[in-house]
């Protein structure tokens, strides 16, 4: 049914629109506008900032150092998204095709971490990955086992196990981001797969296709909207991630968000931070624009 024109019912429209518009303008549009204005400003003193219309902040952002950080952030976010997709797709398939009895529990299993505090989860992963943590112990045990196996067949044992550095490097950042974002990927994938008419899969099998071909030719194309949604929902927060690189990364694992934070909390260069913020927002817009450009898959009901 068609939407109602606002003029036909001004009272109700006013009741629903005024609070919304007030809030979104005062507490979102205005703050963003301030950031945008400041990005064209310069520091005049310790606390004094003049909005002079200068483009220096944006120029500075094109310096090699910042370009590499932007590039690296993209690379990390893309890698994280790809890993989440590869790991998450079979999980979403398994949930979709699980029996009625199991499906709710599997879903719950994916959703519970999603509800759990991000900081707590990051911290928990850090305990596990620490140099004295269980991940290292497990690897050490494997190493010991391999060494023992070698002595069994009469070879020199391996040198003694040195704990590997699993934390405070790029590996840890990627792992941490995957850990945090995996549920974000699985849920939209599941939603898309669940909507898929199963007889389409059966028809493909019926016509002689194997399971792999059916997944590649039928399931993936038809679940494309869900895949794209999952990619966006993972890529965007991963790109702007602050906490994981801050806590789990090393000195060379900084991402854009960390650089932005430094401008405000340490370097006290608000205009430059504002400019970086807006560059990050523009990057998001570009990603979203790319997404909406993709060919729409027709749906048949």
């Amino acid at each position: 049914m068609a939407e109602q024109d606002w003029k036909t019912n001004r009272r109700v429209f006013a009741a629903v629109s005024l609070p919304t518009l007030f809030w979104i303008i005062v507490f979102f549009v205005v703050p963003m506008a301030i950031v945008w204005l400041y990005s064209f400003g310069e520091n005049r003193g310790l606390t004094d900032i003049a909005i002079s219309g200068t483009l220096d902040n944006y120029k500075r952002a094109t310096e090699w150092l910042y370009v590499t950080i932007f590039g690296k952030s993209f690379a990390v976010a893309a890698l994280v998204t790809l890993i989440c997709l590869i790991v998450g797709f079979p999980v979403a398939m398994a949930i979709t095709f699980a029996s009625e009895k199991w499906r709710p529990w599997l879903l719950l299993g994916i959703m519970l971490p999603f509800w759990t505090n991000l900081l707590v989860r990051t911290y928990a992963l850090m305990i596990l990955l620490g140099s004295q943590g269980y991940a290292n112990k497990g690897l050490g045990a494997l190493w010991g086992g391999a060494s023992w196996a070698k002595t069994l067949v009469g070879l020199e044992p391996l040198p003694t196990w040195e704990p590997v550095q699993l934390l405070f490097n790029n590996f840890a950042v990627v792992l941490g981001l995957v850990y945090v974002h995996l549920p974000f990927m699985v849920l939209p994938l599941y939603a898309a797969l669940d909507r898929l008419d199963r007889s389409l899969i059966e028809a493909s099998l019926d016509l002689g296709a194997g399971h792999f071909r059916t997944i590649m030719r039928i399931v993936v194309p038809l679940a494309a909207p869900g895949i794209v949604a999952g990619v966006m929902i993972t890529l965007i927060p991963a790109l702007g991630a602050y906490l994981t690189p801050d806590l789990m990364g090393g000195t060379d694992s900084q991402m854009i968000a960390n650089v932005i934070e430094r401008q405000f909390k340490k370097a006290n260069d608000w205009p430059f931070g504002a400019a970086l913020s807006f560059l990050l927002i523009y990057a998001m817009f570009i990603l979203i624009a790319l997404q909406s450009m993709r060919r729409k898959v027709p749906e048949v009901h």
């Binding site: 507490f27 999980v91 398994a94 509800w115 759990t116 900081l119 004295q132 932005i260």
Partner: protein, 280 residues
């Protein structure tokens, strides 16, 4: 789920293949092992998180005796509760506006309302930092009014989620129900209360749960809007993790995990897993 199928597997029972089970099992271990280890070691009688030295609850006593930590947790819960209430009202109203009416600049309004979902947290944090500095927001108010700035920030990023969830639920609303109610003599308000609200109830529950956890979860935006007197739980844990790993953090984290699980189960009791999952 038996690892080895007793009956033969039908073609579409993908989840009964062995490699699928191993895969899902491995993912679950990946997701849960860190949390389980953290919870177990919150009872460990040792300063370090490595070797089991016996059972103790002393870190819970310590955590609960840490005034700053308790105050932070209390702040967080207060903010989350306030933010949830306002977000629900604001989000539902915005959803009804976008669903029901046609008005000038609708596309722009719609886009702006969903922007807080997309804009990176760090940028929102920066924006609120600058905004509250620019308007000279008072920082010396008494509790709970001193939490105002953080709460406002949280509402701004929570209510668009409520709008999204409620709107997708509204899409399945059969307007003939509304017409039937009017036909039977209901007023605009009665239709809203008796027909529309019951229909969107699952979305409201999901939206409330989402808002509450998002608010409780948020570190980055809060980090930029909180002052020395308005520490929230994540901000406090962050500083504890950053500067010294103490078992107190384990204990406090465990409490928060238990709180999350409890909340989730309450929501499930109210709505069932499927309804919640569908709203994502």
């Amino acid at each position: 789920m038996a690892l080895f199928a007793r009956t033969p597997r039908a073609p579409l029972e993908y989840s009964r293949t062995l490699w699928m089970r191993l895969w899902v099992g491995a993912v679950m271990v990946f997701l849960y092992a860190p949390l389980v280890v953290l919870m177990i070691f919150s009872f460990n009688d040792s300063k370090r998180n490595v070797v089991w030295r016996g059972f103790t609850t002393k870190y819970y006593e310590k955590a609960l005796g840490n005034d700053q930590l308790v105050e932070a947790l209390l702040n967080s819960l207060t903010i989350a509760a306030l933010a949830t209430i306002v977000s629900l009202a604001l989000g539902a109203v915005a959803a009804v506006m976008l669903w029901r009416f046609r008005f000038p600049l609708k596309g722009a309004v719609d886009g702006t309302i969903s922007l807080p979902i997309i804009v990176p947290e760090i940028c929102m944090g920066v924006a609120f930092l600058m905004f509250f500095a620019a308007v000279d927001w008072p920082t010396d108010l008494v509790w709970p009014f001193n939490l105002g700035a953080i709460t406002i920030a949280h509402i701004t990023f929570c209510f668009p989620f409520v709008t999204m969830v409620v709107r997708s639920r509204l899409a399945s609303f059969n307007r003939e129900q509304e017409e039937a109610a009017k036909d039977l003599g209901a007023s605009e308000w009665q239709v809203f209360r008796d027909v529309l609200i019951p229909h969107i109830r699952p979305a409201l529950v999901a939206g409330a749960l989402l808002s509450f956890t998002l608010s409780l979860d948020d570190f980055v935006i809060t980090y930029f809007t909180s002052g020395p007197d308005t520490i929230t739980f994540p901000v406090k844990v962050y500083s504890m993790v950053r500067f010294s790993v103490t078992p107190e953090v384990n204990a406090a984290s465990t409490l928060l995990i238990i709180l999350t699980v409890a909340l989730t189960f309450i929501a499930l009791k109210l709505q069932g897993v499927k309804a919640i999952a569908e709203t994502h």
